[in-house]
């Protein structure tokens, strides 16, 4: 078994199976209590007492759904991670295991005093349940943190910059797209669709709590739209904009000292995907692999591009031509 395979097995075990098992156990517990619970239980409180009510099955559903959706994103995101600090991967795994632990314990704590009849409106806010949930989440999260697998290092072999020659009067443009891997886009899109459906259903049946899911769905859709960028390089410099049109990133050619090709790992080098600001400079980081790096006077700009060797060659040729033109003036 290769390092990559054993890493992925542990990733699946910690990021998917563990949270699913915890959520399933919590859901099974809720199901076993169903006969003793009222048709609607208190699920929301204000300072004056319980004001939100829902069938207990909703709680089981929320528990399972959150574990499945969050686990799917975490596992896809870390599937191709490469060795390094790995801190961000650990956090994701800890949250993925901690979230269902919190919900399972908190829901159990909410339901315990409501079993055996009685009016749900008289139930008090279960502070102890929440505290116990947070404690459990911290313990399970810490365990996942400790057991988190270290991704095997990937051979970083950046391709050499292509050597381009430009005629003095030639006009040139390079146009390309920088896009996240399709599986990641599909998983995020799928999760957004599920959240939209469930959120709409909950909003109509229970009310306000469903709006949270609708908001989460909207955020994921926007995230998807910022994971594909259109990039243009010409005499003026580089312009990159995502499908939704904002924000526009511009790098003026006059600011660029040198272009190079590097091999990036999103989580290790930039702490994630999208438009990033990190110690490695600004970056439009959408996948692992080859990227164009522009060294500027005020810090570096990096963008993941399939055709990075040629893009870098073009930027260097444009810089060379500009400096020749300036010196001959």
């Amino acid at each position: 078994m290769t390092d990559r395979q054993s890493y992925r097995r542990r990733l699946l075990a910690l990021g998917a199976l563990l949270p699913l098992a915890i959520a399933a156990a919590g859901a099974a517990l809720i199901l076993s209590w169903l006969p003793t619970l009222p048709g609607e239980v208190a699920v929301h409180w204000t300072s004056s007492g319980a004001d939100g009510f829902a069938p207990p099955l909703t709680l089981a559903g929320v528990l399972l759904l959150s574990a499945v959706l969050f686990g799917a994103i975490v596992v896809t995101a870390l599937w191709n991670a490469s060795g390094g600090r790995g801190g961000n991967g650990r956090i994701l795994l800890a949250v993925s295991a901690g979230l269902p632990s919190f919900l399972a314990v908190a829901f159990a704590g909410i339901l315990t005093p409501q079993s055996g009849g009685g009016d749900p409106r008289t139930i008090e806010f279960p502070v102890a349940a929440l505290v116990a949930g947070i404690g459990c989440a911290a313990a399970v999260g810490a365990l996942a943190w400790m057991l988190a697998p270290t991704a095997p290092p990937r051979d970083r072999m950046p391709e050499p910059v292509e050597n381009l020659q430009l005629a003095r009067d030639a006009r040139v443009v390079w146009i390309g797209t920088a896009s996240a891997p399709r599986p990641l886009l599909l998983v995020i899109g799928g999760v957004a669709a599920v959240l939209l459906l469930v959120g709409a259903a909950l909003t109509f049946t229970i009310g306000a709590p469903g709006l949270v899911l609708l908001a989460a769905s909207a955020i994921l859709v926007v995230a998807c739209l910022t994971l594909s960028w259109r990039v243009r390089i010409d005499d003026d410099g580089l312009v990159a904009r995502p499908l939704i049109g904002i924000p526009v990133v511009r790098v003026s050619l006059g600011q660029v000292k040198e272009a190079s090709v590097i091999d990036v790992s999103p989580v290790d080098d930039f702490g994630g995907w999208g438009l990033r600001y990190s110690s490695s400079g600004t970056g439009v980081i959408l996948r692992t692999g080859t990227a164009l790096r522009l060294d500027q006077t005020g810090g570096a700009f990096t963008i993941t591009l399939d055709d990075a060797p040629r893009a870098a060659g073009l930027v260097n040729a444009l810089i060379a031509r500009r400096s020749t033109a300036e010196s001959s003036r």
């Binding site: 430009l166 005629a167 009067d169 030639a170 006009r171 443009v173 390079w174 146009i175 073009l314």
Partner: protein
């Protein structure tokens, strides 16, 4: 994709744009289904007249390489894949011609003659 036009070259500008797109197809940077930038965007980036770029796109459409539809933009057709495949066969032919001391004009004349049969 990388496009270069040189106004000081004797080749017409629209021809240079079309050649550039074809070269990118042969390189594999553009594939069947790839969307070309809008004529407006390309004209602005290359400081060309919009009609020059449109003429290049129409030339490529007449060759069957490009699908021009209102609203969908310029999309490369399945023929782009054929052109790419065909390009892979060329180096061998050229290598044989070179080994035999046959230059590019003679080889292109051979190919043109084969077409006119």
């Amino acid at each position: 994709m990388l496009l270069t036009v040189d106004p000081s070259s004797p080749t017409p500008l629209f021809q240079q744009v079309a050649d550039g797109v074809r070269a990118e197809v042969i390189r594999g940077t553009l594939q069947a289904g790839s969307r070309l930038p809008s004529a407006k965007e390309l004209a602005a980036a290359l400081h060309l007249n919009l009609h020059t770029v449109l003429k290049a796109y129409q030339l490529l459409r007449d060759e069957g390489l490009l699908d021009l539809r209102r609203g969908r933009g310029a999309v490369l057709t399945a023929q782009a894949a054929m052109l790419g495949d065909l390009a892979a066969a060329v180096p061998q032919l050229v290598a044989r011609a070179k080994a035999a001391g046959i230059g590019a004009p003679a080889l292109s004349a051979l190919i043109k003659e084969e077409y006119s049969k």
